[in-house]
């Protein structure tokens, strides 16, 4: 019997090594695997490369991971934002490396990682300062730059419903980076709001097939915090 459910967040995150590349899904706290992020802090893992849309906001979640000095490098599309206070402190001390990426380039680099494509050309950022040092090539008269795949050692994902095979269904805008990150890591760990029996999820609605998923933990996290 295939059963990817584990009993605790600690069990879900067991074995994550220092120096790992960790993909963390979620967009503005919606679809963000907060219990797994907190659990990652608990493991004590350090020297991490974190791939996440932002460098964290406020003092919780990815911001706390950075604030506690666990992140050697952050790869994101929004570094500086209202509320990126912990990142600013650590960055000002020169204790974190930053790679800033256009959001679509970031998503596509992860997708390429998932699909076994080592690199690809894109028009995004061609002719800008983000293209400096990157190979470029002209196709049909337009300039494109070479971007390399991102593949994680670990991906942290939040689902709305999951079954024991690791098939996942998302809720509303909580889908965001979850499916593409789930597919692009050696170890994909999921926290799910609800548990479905095998066969209960409609094959039509499964957005992440279980093949990508390694461990699932049931966390009734509730609704994302209300934005003011």
């Amino acid at each position: 019997m295939i059963d990817k459910f584990v009993r605790s967040v600690a069990e879900a995150l067991a074995g994550i090594k220092d120096g790992s590349t960790v993909l963390i899904a979620g967009f503005a706290q919606v679809g963000e695997p907060r219990a797994l992020i907190d659990g990652l802090i608990e493991t004590g893992a350090k020297d991490l490369t974190v791939v996440h849309n932002t460098a964290g906001r406020g003092r919780e979640g990815v911001a706390r991971l950075i604030g506690e000095g666990r992140v050697r490098k952050i790869v994101c599309s929004f570094a500086r934002s209202r509320g990126s206070v912990l990142f600013e402190e650590v960055y000002a001390r020169g204790e974190i490396e930053l790679e800033i990426l256009p959001q679509g380039t970031m998503a596509e680099r992860i997708r390429a990682g998932a699909a076994g494509i080592p690199a690809f050309y894109t028009a995004t950022a061609a002719g800008t300062k983000l293209a400096e040092g990157k190979e470029s090539r002209v196709f049909s008269g337009r300039e494109y730059i070479l971007e390399h795949a991102i593949y994680g050692d670990v991906a942290l994902v939040e689902a709305w419903r999951a079954d024991r095979w690791g098939n996942l269904v998302y809720r509303d805008a909580g889908r965001n980076f979850n499916p593409v990150m789930a597919a692009a890591a050696e170890l994909t760990v999921v926290q799910t709001q609800h548990v479905a029996q095998l066969g209960e999820l409609s094959p039509e609605e499964v957005a992440t097939p279980g093949i990508y998923v390694d461990r699932v933990v049931h966390v009734e996290a509730g609704d994302p915090p209300l934005k003011t």
Binding site: F27, A28, V30, G31, A55, S77, F78, A79, R80, S81, F87, E88, Y91, L98, I100, L101, P102, Q103, G104, T105, A107, E108, I110, R111, T122, A123, T124, A125, A126, G127, T128, K129, L130, Y170, R171, D172, A173, G174, R175, N176, F177, N178, P179, V180, A207, D223, P224, P225, L226, K227
Partner: protein, 218 residues
């Protein structure tokens, strides 16, 4: 503001409404942060325009009343939104594939500067801002079929934003097709900026005085 001035600049909402007039039924449209977001309020609901949000939504509707907020349903500016009938969700990679693959008819963006060749600068105000926020702007600017910019004609200090060449770091080269400001609507053409219309009472000379690059009249 001169005492003998006999024209009035458009307010933010009027500017958004002016731009909204030009979006035809059937287009798929992404609206950036700021005044661009207001544009959605001025497309009448009976005109079917499909609004896209980078975080994986097509068919977005207006903001909900407070008692109807769904905390799982936000746009790329982290504001609560609704869905119109016909809406769909997709992952971030599919959402940006449709941006980068040229499937959006229009993206409306704010800007710091636009050059007469259509160069866009809207993400950093200096070369040494090393920890900025880009988000999806570079993908949208390079990928959407049309980029329309909505911005104030001049900086608060009175400097021109419509330039021969941008002085701030570029978001994308030669992508802007049209600019809407509180004073005028201006097309980017192979011959440079061409005035489409101006607020009533404003002369081309007065507009040119507030613009760095040369303007072609109607």
């Amino acid at each position: 503001m001169a005492a003998n001035q006999n024209w009035r600049p458009l307010e933010r909402d009027a500017l958004a409404a002016r731009l909204a007039q030009d979006i035809p039924e059937g287009w798929s449209v992404n609206l950036g942060i700021g005044i661009p977001t207001l544009v959605g309020n001025y497309v009448p609901p009976e005109r079917e325009v499909v609004f896209h949000s980078e975080n994986g939504i097509l068919g977005m509707g207006p903001a909900p009343p407070p008692e109807k907020i769904n905390r799982w349903l936000i746009n790329a500016s982290s504001q609560y939104v609704t869905l119109r009938p016909g809406a769909s969700f997709m992952s971030h990679s599919d959402s940006f594939a449709l941006v980068r693959g040229g499937h959006l008819d229009l993206c409306v963006l704010g800007a710091f500067q636009v050059a007469e060749n259509g160069d866009l600068a809207n993400w950093a105000r200096s070369e040494d801002d090393n920890a900025p926020a880009i988000g999806g702007a570079m993908d949208l600017a390079a990928g959407a079929r049309r980029i329309w910019v909505v911005m104030e004609h001049n900086t608060r200090a009175g400097e021109a934003r419509l330039l021969r060449r941008c002085t701030y770091p570029l978001t994308a080269a030669a992508c802007v097709k049209r600019v809407y400001t509180e004073l005028a609507v201006i097309d980017v053409t192979p011959r440079g900026f061409a005035v489409v219309d101006m607020v009533p009472g404003l002369s081309l000379e007065e507009l040119q005085a507030r613009t760095d690059a040369p303007l072609l009249g109607r």
